[in-house]
């Protein structure tokens, strides 16, 4: 019985999960450091308003590079932006996200503290 309850709890909670709909990811592109916004499984990122990294310094980095869908409504790949070589990126990543099983947009704001 305990096992059954455990399995039930795990299955039900996993569906909604605590995973953020988008996560920041540092990487390299053409030899330069970039920051990408990677959508969680089942989510798309709105292509008409690019994600933004709002740094605690007040600077805003728009992640506006990346292939969009034909109607420009969504990013077909994680949007990205070049970031300074040796910077610590601390702030909030803001993105408009759309779950593929819904027909609506919602805002996601994720705390970011990344070092290269």
């Amino acid at each position: 019985m305990r096992l059954l309850l455990g399995v039930l709890l795990a299955a039900a909670c996993e569906r909604h999960g605590s995973e953020e709909p988008v996560r920041p990811q540092l990487g390299m592109r053409a030899g330069e450091p970039i920051l990408s916004a990677v959508p969680a499984a089942g989510y798309r990122i709105n292509g008409r308003v690019s994600p933004a990294l709002e740094l605690t310094t007040g600077q805003v980095i728009r992640l506006d590079r990346g292939r969009r869908s034909v109607d420009s409504a969504y990013f077909d790949e994680p949007p990205w932006a070049r970031v300074p070589e040796s910077a610590r990126l601390r702030g909030t990543l803001r993105a408009s996200v759309c779950r593929t099983d819904e027909a609506l947009c919602r805002i996601a704001a994720v705390a970011v503290d990344l070092r290269r």
Partner: protein
């Protein structure tokens, strides 16, 4: 049998406790933020487009009001516009007032707060019904809105009767549902 049923209820109760936040999220996704009907909150947006003067809720007593919370950067919102334009065309003379409540998703740096950009979107999508700029999200918050697009249908007595979220298109099932709701309220 009895013990199995008891166990099932117990599991359901545990699930409810363990996933309480998710359950609340599900309610919001259904577009419900409280008991219906209830008095529609007044709004006091100062910046309007497609009208000569700001429109207040108390001026609309006797009319059915459909509020559309949207933002021009939301594809789900703009793809729903043809349905709203159609409702406006078909029912305005019968007593429907359609109002757009343009609520930005992003801070001002994204351009969603810019009146010129909103005006451009209204022209681009053929929107002739009034639109309020809700740049501080005050009306959005008063109505407990969480998603773009959202819809609130208010009856002739100023009561919220129906709420909903999500894109729909002329002729689909959701369009038919809103169409029926509008006709029900217009007939009262």
């Amino acid at each position: 049998m009895h013990s199995a049923r008891t166990a099932a209820y117990g599991a359901a109760a545990l699930l409810s406790l363990a996933c309480g936040g998710s359950a609340a999220g599900q309610m919001a996704a259904d577009g419900r933020s409280g008991e219906l009907p209830r008095p529609a909150p007044a709004w006091d947006n100062a910046s309007w487009l497609n009208t000569d003067a700001p429109i207040r809720l108390d001026q609309l007593r006797g009319r059915v009001v459909l509020l559309n919370f949207w933002v021009f950067t939301c594809g789900n919102c703009t793809r729903t516009v043809p349905s709203l334009v159609d409702f406006d065309r078909r029912y305005r003379r019968q007593g429907l007032t359609l109002l757009g409540i343009h609520t930005p998703e992003f801070p001002p740096y994204a351009g969603e707060h810019d009146r010129t950009n909103v005006a451009g979107a209204l022209a681009r999508y053929g929107i002739r019904y009034p639109n309020a700029q809700d740049n501080d999200s005050r009306t959005w918050n008063r109505y407990g809105i969480r998603y773009w697009p959202s819809f609130v249908l208010i009856d002739r007595r100023g009561r919220v009767r129906y709420e909903g979220v999500g894109e729909f298109h002329v002729g689909d099932a959701t369009y038919a549902t809103w169409d029926r709701r509008i006709r029900v309220l217009l007939a009262e």
